[in-house]
C-alpha cells in the first residue's frame, strides 16, 4: 500500500509556515536599508513664470507733524485729543507765556524810547544843517572864519551819523519787539495742515523742553507702508510696480497698491531693502499707524522657459542640480537656475530641457547608487 505523502496535519502546518516564511523574506527585502527609495517624478515643462517679491512692513503716515514749543515752557492748555480731526491753522493749545507779556511790554517801551531818541537826533540834525548852511552863506560874504565853517560842517556830519544811529536803533527795537511778539504767538500750537491728532505726548501743566513734541498730527490720506524686503530676494524691485497688500487685521483681504519708491538707503544691519508702497484706494476703515502688513510685489511676467518645482533642487557635493531619471537610472544633473515665483517654481537656464523626468520628492536622501521606486505620492504623507 503506497503511503500518502501529505497528511492533513502536515498541510495545516504548511499553511502556517509558508506564509510566515514568505512574510519573513518580504520583510527582509522591502524594509530597512535594503529597500528601494520611494520617489515621485515630474516632467520639465516650459511655462511663463510671474516672479513676485514678498516683504513685510508697517503702516506709516507719510508726514508726521510733531507740534511743540520752540523754547522750554509749561503747557497752559491743550484743546484737542487723540483722534480729533483738525484743520490747517487751527489752534491746538497754548503754552504759558510766563514773563513774555512783560518782556513784550518792556520791548514796546524800548521801542518808543528809540523813536523819541530818533526824533531828538532828527531835530539836532536839522539844526546842524541850518547852521552849516548859514555859515556857508556867511563864509561866502567873508563874514565869518573858515574855522567856524569847518566846525559847523563837522557838527552837521556828527548829527547825520547820530540820526542814522537813532534810525537803526528804532529798527532794532522794532525787530526785537516783533521777535518777541512772534515768540508770543508761537506759544500757541497751531496745526500746519489738515489732519488727525495721532498722539498727545504731554498734558497741560507739564514742562516741556524746546523741540519736544506735544501733539502729533498725521494726514490719514497720506498713509503708506514702509516695507522691508530681504536683499537676497529683492531683485527687480523698482518704483511703479503693482503690489498686493494684506493687513494683519484683515488677513485674506488683499488691497491693491503700488510701489512708490525704493529707498536709496538700505538697512545694512538687517540686510533688507526698504521701499514705500502706497494704497491705490484709501482703505476703509483707516488702518492704525503701526499695523503690520504683508506686501507682495508682482514683477513683470517672464517669457516661457523650462520650469521645475523648487523641491526638486538638491545639492550634491558642491553642485546644485536635480536628480534626473535617464533610461530608468538615477543621474545627478547640475543646473543653472533663473527667476523663481512665490509658488515654488523656478526657471532652469541651463542643464535641463522640456520633457526630462526629474525627481521631486523622495523619502530619503538619494545617491547615485540608490534603487528607486516611482509612485504618485510618498506614502505616509496625508493629502
Amino acid at each position: 500500500m503506497k503511503r500518502l505523502p501529505l497528511q492533513g496535519r502536515t498541510l495545516a502546518l504548511l499553511a502556517v509556515i509558508v506564509p510566515l516564511l514568505a512574510l519573513f523574506i518580504y520583510v527582509g527585502l522591502r524594509s530597512g536599508p535594503l529597500a528601494p527609495v520611494t520617489v515621485t517624478v515630474v516632467a520639465v515643462e516650459s511655462r511663463a513664470v510671474t516672479p513676485a517679491l514678498f516683504g513685510i512692513g508697517t503702516v506709516e503716515a507719510r508726514y508726521t507733524y510733531k507740534i511743540g514749543p520752540t523754547f522750554a515752557g509749561r503747557i497752559k492748555q491743550l484743546d484737542v485729543h487723540v483722534g480729533d480731526q483738525v484743520k490747517a491753522g487751527q489752534v491746538l493749545g497754548e503754552m504759558e507765556p510766563v514773563d513774555l507779556d512783560d518782556r513784550v511790554r518792556s520791548q514796546d517801551s524800548a521801542f518808543k524810547r528809540a523813536e523819541a531818541a530818533l526824533r531828538e537826533a532828527q531835530a539836532r540834525q536839522v539844526y546842524a544843517q541850518t547852521q552849516a548852511r548859514r555859515y556857508m552863506q556867511l563864509f561866502a560874504v567873508r563874514s565869518t572864519s573858515e574855522e567856524i565853517v569847518s566846525t559847523k560842517r563837522q557838527e552837521l556830519q556828527i548829527t547825520n551819523a547820530a540820526l542814522s544811529a537813532a534810525r537803526e536803533d528804532v529798527a532794532r527795537t522794532r525787530s526785537d519787539r516783533e521777535g518777541l511778539v512772534a515768540q508770543r504767538s508761537n506759544l500757541r500750537l497751531i496745526a500746519p495742515v489738515e489732519g488727525v491728532i495721532a498722539e498727545r505726548d504731554a498734558d497741560p501743566g507739564t514742562t516741556v523742553v524746546a523741540g519736544q513734541a506735544v501733539v502729533e498730527i498725521i494726514d490719514p490720506k497720506s498713509l503708506w507702508i514702509n516695507v522691508r524686503f530681504d536683499q537676497i530676494s529683492a531683485a527687480g524691485l523698482a518704483g511703479g510696480l503693482p503690489a498686493r497688500i494684506v493687513l494683519r487685521s484683515r488677513g485674506g483681504q488683499a488691497l491693491k497698491g503700488s510701489v512708490l519708491r525704493v529707498e536709496p538707503k538700505a538697512d545694512a544691519v538687517t540686510e533688507e531693502t526698504l521701499a514705500k508702497v502706497t494704497f491705490e484706494n484709501k482703505p476703509e476703515p483707516v488702518p492704525p499707524v503701526g499695523e503690520l502688513a504683508e506686501v507682495t510685489v508682482d514683477l513683470p511676467a517672464l517669457p516661457a522657459a523650462p520650469l521645475i518645482p523648487n523641491a526638486a533642487v538638491r545639492r550634491e557635493g558642491d553642485k546644485v542640480g536635480v536628480w534626473q531619471i535617464v533610461e530608468g537610472d538615477l543621474h545627478f544633473s547640475p543646473v543653472k537656475l533663473g527667476a523663481s515665483d512665490l509658488n515654488g517654481y523656478v526657471q532652469v537656464r541651463e542643464g535641463l530641457k522640456n520633457g526630462d523626468q526629474i525627481v521631486t520628492y523622495s523619502e530619503k536622501a538619494l545617491t547615485a547608487r540608490s534603487r528607486i521606486h516611482v509612485v504618485d505620492h510618498i506614502p505616509g504623507v496625508s493629502r
Binding site: 530597512g32 537676497i232 544691519v269 523622495s362 523619502e363 504623507v381
Partner: protein
Amino acid sequence: MISLAGRDILHAWGKFVFTGVGLGLLIGVTLIMAGVYRGMVDDGKALLDNSGADLWVVQKDTLGPYAESSSLNDDVYRTILAMPGVAQAANVTYLTMQVRKSQSDVRTMVVGIAPGKLGATPGWPPYLVAGRQLTRGHYEAVADIATGFKLGDRIAIRRNHYTVVGLTRRMVSSSGDPMVFIPLKDAQEAQFLKDNDAIWQSRRRTEAKPAFNRPGVPGLLDAVIASQSTNAFVNAVLVTLKPGHAPNEVAESIRRWKRLTVYTRAQMEGILIGKLIATSAKQIAMFLVILAIVSAAIVAFIIYSLTMDKIREIAVLKLIGTRNRTIAAMIMQQALALGVIGFVVGKITATFSAPIFPKYVLLTPMDSVAGFFAVLLICVLASLVAIRMALKVDPAEAIG
C-alpha cells in the same frame, strides 16, 4: 531513518508554535531595543547630514549648537564667507519649543534658516516629501511629517502664524524632536521676543529708569526700547567648503583668525554620539544583556519541560536500542526549531512594530544576522541541560 524531532514537532505543533510565538515576541523586543540604539545614533547622523554643512562655527569654547547653547552675532558669517576655502556660510538658529496648531501643540525643534541661493545654502532641508521650499521671507514653514502637520496648516510659533508649505521626513533633532524650518528673522524674533505681557513689563521697567527716560533728550526712550526688542544673535554659522579644501585646514584657519570654535563633521559626530547618546547607549546595552539571559532561561526551561514529558518514551527508545546521540540530536533539533520559529516571529514583529514607536527605530540586516546566530547559540546551550537529563535515564525503567 525518520526524523524523530520532526515527527514530535508535527505531533505537538500547536504547543511548539505557541511557545515559538512567545519566544518570538521576546526576541522581537530584543531586536527593537537594538534598533532603538541604532535609531538614536542615526538621529544624530541624520541631524548632521540634513544640515548640509561641512563645518559648524559656534560660540567660543562651547559644544554647541546641539549639545550646548551657543550664541554668535549674526554678522559673523560675513567675515567667515571671506575666508579661503569657504563656499557658503549661513546663519542658523535652533530652539526646542512647543508649536501650536488649533488646540494641540507639538514639541519641535524650530530651525531658523537664512535666505540664500536655492539649493546652495546650508541649513535648508535637503529633500522634501511634499509641497515646496520656503519662497517668502516671513510666515512660511516647512515641517517634518512627524509633527503631524499637513500642507496648508496654520501653526503658531510664539506670536506669529505660519503656513506649512512643505513637508520633510527624518528631519529630527538629536533627541528625536521633529524639526520645523522657518525664515531666520522670524526665528530670531521667536527666540527672543516673549509674549505681550512680558514686553509691556519690560517697556515699563525701561521707562521707569531715569537714565533712559531723560526729558532733555526726546527719542532716547524709544531708541532704547527699540534696541531691546531686536535680536542680533544666532546659534551657529553653517559652512560649506569649496572642492579641494580639507575641512580641518579651513576649520583651523577660522579658529585662529576669527577666534571662534569650529567643529568638523567628524568632531560633531563625536560630540553627539559620545556625549549626548553615551548614557542611553549603556542603558540599552544592559537591557540587551538581560533580555538575552531571560531568553536563554526561557528556552532552557521549555526544552527541559518538553523532554521531561517524554522521559518514558526516551527510556523505551533507549531500551529498544536507540543510540544516545540520536536522542541528543532529537532534543537539540527541537531546541533549534524553536529558536528558528522564535526568530522568524521576532523579526516580523520587530519590523512591523518599529514604525509605531515614537522615536526612530533602525533595524539593520547585520543586527538580524547577529541576532539569528545568537538565538541559535542560546538554543544549543539551553538544550544541553535537557540532553544531560535524557542521557542519564536508565532504560531499565521501561521494564516494570
